[in-house]
Assembly symmetry: C2
Homo-oligomer: 384 residues x 2
C-alpha cells in the first residue's frame, strides 16, 4: 500500500511512519514543523528525542528495503501538496497534520485563528487535492473524542439515529466542543462529510481518545534514534504523560477541578493498530465512516491514583494536588462513549494499570534531568 | 441604540442601515467591498444602483439628525475592527459581512478557501473583539435556512430536544449543509455557540430563508439614490429575483432539476422587521438563541408558476424551462421548518403572490436594458 502520512514529525506521526514501513508498505512522510515552531514560541521541549526527522529517517532507511520518503510541505501551500498527491497517488492518507493543542488554541486570538486557519483550510486543500489527483484514496482523518463534549446521552460512533415527532432521521452525532481546537476538528468533519456526499470520496474519521505512552515496537528498536516526542507540558502534554513526568520529579500530581471528569484513553501502540485496521478495511465510495478510537475510560482522579500507586512501587511518595480548573468543562457528567467498531475489526486493547504506569516511570526516569517543573503548571485559562 | 452593521454595502446591509437610521438609532456602517470584488471577477453587476455607499450615505445624511457613519474595514484586519469596537461600543451588531454565495463557494478551491477563511476567521476576530471591548453587546448573526439541508424531520429553531436510549439531551439542531458557503455558516454557528457558553456573550443566530424583493420603505424615499443592489445572476441572484429578471426579458424561467425542491422565503422588508425585532428583544447573557427567519415556503416550480402568471398580467408570455440541476441536492424531500419565534414577537409577514410579483416586474422593467441574459445560466456545477 502507498500510504501518505501527514504530520509525520508528530507524537503519533513518527511512530505511524515506522509502523507502516515495518509492515512493508511504501511510506511517504510529510510535515511542515508547525508544532516545532509552537515549542519554540513557548520555550518547551519534547523529552527523549535527540534527532530530527530527516536524521531519524536516514537511520531507519539503513535497515529497510522500502525507504520512507520525506516531504517538507505545508498543507496551506496547495501547489506543493498537489504536486505530492500527483506524484504519489496514495492508496491511503493518514491526516495528523493539524495544530493539536486545546490550550494553545485558547491562548490568544492569534492562536485561535492560527488553529482554525491551519486546520480547516489545510484540510480543505487536501480535500480538493484528493478530488483532483486521487479520488479513490482512503482519507484517514484524526479527530478527537473531545469534540463530543460530555452529553447526557450515549456517545455513538459519529452518527445517530433519531426520532422526532414520529419521523426518523440519521444525523451526524451532535457535538459540543470545548475549545477552538476541538471546534476546528468539528469544522473539518463537517467539510469532509460534505465532500464524501458531493464528490463521493471516502473517509474514516477517527475520534480518538487521549493518547498516552512513550514506546512502540519500532521505537524500541533503537531508542536513541527512534523515540517519538514526549510532552509533559501544559501545551502539548496529555494528562497521563504529565502525571508520569510529575511522578518522576517526585512532584504531586496536579488535578484540575474536582477530578471527576471522565475521559477516553488509549495507548500509543493501540493508535497504530487502529490506524492500520482502518487502512486495511476502507469505507465505501462516498462513505463518511466514523470510529471512536479509544480503549478505556478513566476519571482524572482514577488516573492520578494509578500513577501514585505505580510511583510508590518505584519508591516515590507523592499525592494529588487539586488546582482550580483552567478550562470550562463539566466536572460531574454522564459519559458513555461507544467503541465497538474497531474492536469488532480486531483491535486487542492494551490496558493502563499500575504495571504499565510503573514501566513508563522507569523509562521516563532516564530523562529526568530534561524535565522542567515549571511546565507542569497550566498557563492558559479558558476565561480570563 | 448604537447599532453596528457589518456588510453594510450589501443587498440587506444597506436597507438595514437606512431602516435603523429612520427609527432614530445611531447607525455605524462597515464594509470591505469584498462582494464588489467578486462582481468584478465575474463581470457581473447589480441592477438599479447608481451610487456607491459613501455617496448614498452622504445623500441620506442630508435629511437626518443622527448621521450614519461609515467605516471601510475588513473583519480579517482585527486591529482595524478592534479600534472600531473600542470607539463605538455598540449595543447590537448585525453581522452580514460574509461571502454570501453558495455557487461562488463551489466555483474553485480558491473560492471555497476564500469563503471559509473570510467568513470563519472574520467571525472569530469579531468574537474576540466583542469579548474584549463590548462583552454585553448583542450579536445578531445572519445564518441561512440552507444550513439545515432537507432532513426527514421537522426543522426546529436551532436547538432540538432528543431522547436516546431513555436519556435526554438538548442539542444544536443537526445540520446538513450543501455547499462550502453553507458550511462556513455552520462553522460560524458552532464557534459562536462555544463563545456564548465560554465567555457568556449573547447572540441571536438568524437562519434566514431566501430573500426576495427590491424595495423597502427607505429605498422608496429616493429610488435614484437609495436603491439597494439587485442581483439576477447565477452567483449572487436569488431565485425569485432571477425569475423576475427573466420575465422582464421575456425569457423562460430556468428551473434546476425537478423543481420540487421546497425552500423557505421572505421579503426583504421582513428581513428588516426580523432584525429589528431581534434587536429589541435581546437574548440573555450567555445565550445562543436561534430564530428561523422566513415567512413562507414554496417549491421552485410553484414560484415559477406565480411569476409566469404575474408576467402574463403584464402581457409577457413565458413558460418554465427545466435545466439539469447544477447542485447536489435532494429534489423530492420532506420539508417542515418552524418559524414561530419571530411571529410570536410580532412579525407580520408579507406574502409573495401574483400581485407582488407583478409589482416587482413593473419595477424591474425600468432597468430592463441593464439585464444581460447570459447571466441567467448557471456557470458553477457542484460536481464536475
Amino acid at each position: 500500500m502507498k500510504i501518505l502520512i501527514l504530520g509525520a514529525d508528530g507524537y503519533l506521526g513518527w511512530p505511524t511512519c515506522m509502523y507502516f514501513s515495518d509492515l512493508g508498505h511504501d511510506v511517504y512522510a510529510l510535515d511542515n514543523f508547525s508544532k516545532r515552531k509552537i515549542e519554540l514560541e513557548f520555550g518547551i521541549n519534547s523529552l527523549s528525542q535527540n534527532y530530527n526527522i530527516v536524521q531519524r529517517i536516514e537511520e531507519w532507511n539503513k535497515n529497510i528495503k522500502k525507504k520512507i520518503n520525506f516531504y517538507n510541505c505545508d498543507l496551506l501551500n496547495h501547489r506543493n501538496l498537489y504536486s505530492i498527491l500527483e506524484r504519489v497517488r496514495p492508496d491511503a492518507i493518514v491526516h495528523y497534520a493539524e495544530q493539536p493543542s486545546a490550550p494553545y488554541s485558547m491562548h490568544s486570538r492569534e492562536a485561535a485563528v492560527f488553529t482554525q486557519y491551519n486546520n480547516v483550510i489545510g484540510n480543505l486543500n487536501l480535500l480538493f487535492g484528493i478530488k483532483k489527483y486521487c479520488p479513490n484514496t482512503h482519507l484517514i482523518k484524526l479527530g478527537t473524542m473531545g469534540e463530543y463534549g460530555t452529553p447526557n446521552i450515549d456517545i455513538e460512533e459519529g452518527w445517530l439515529n433519531i426520532e422526532h415527532k414520529g419521523r426518523k432521521e440519521r444525523i451526524l452525532y451532535p457535538k459540543k466542543p470545548g475549545s477552538f481546537y476541538h471546534l476546528s476538528k468539528v469544522h473539518d468533519s463537517n467539510n469532509i462529510e460534505f465532500a464524501t456526499r458531493n464528490w463521493k470520496i471516502r473517509c474514516t474519521d477517527l475520534n480518538q481518545g487521549v493518547v498516552y505512552g512513550i514506546e512502540t515496537e519500532q521505537t524500541k528498536k533503537n531508542e536513541k534514534f527512534f523515540n517519538t516526542s514526549f510532552h509533559y507540558d501544559d501545551i502539548f502534554g496529555t494528562v497521563i504523560n504529565r502525571f508520569i513526568a510529575q511522578a518522576v520529579k517526585k512532584k504531586n500530581l496536579t488535578v484540575y477541578g474536582s477530578g471527576n471528569q471522565r475521559r477516553a484513553f488509549l495507548n500509543i501502540q493501540d493508535t497504530l493498530n487502529c490506524v492500520r485496521i482502518s487502512a486495511e478495511n476502507p469505507p465505501q465510495e462516498g462513505e463518511f465512516r466514523v470510529f471512536n478510537q479509544y480503549t478505556e475510560q478513566f476519571s482524572i482522579d482514577e488516573l492520578a491514583d494509578i500513577v501514585i500507586s505505580a510511583a510508590k512501587s518505584n519508591g516515590i511518595q507523592i499525592k494529588k494536588e487539586k488546582l482550580k480548573n483552567p478550562r470550562t468543562e463539566m466536572e460531574k457528567h454522564y459519559y458513555n462513549p461507544k467503541n465497538e467498531s474497531l474492536i469488532k475489526l480486531g483491535l486487542k486493547p492494551i490496558s493502563f494499570n499500575e504495571t504499565l504506569a510503573s514501566q513508563m516511570i522507569s523509562k521516563v526516569l532516564k530523562y529526568s534531568e530534561e524535565i522542567h517543573e515549571k511546565f507542569f503548571k497550566p498557563k492558559v485559562k479558558w476565561v480570563e
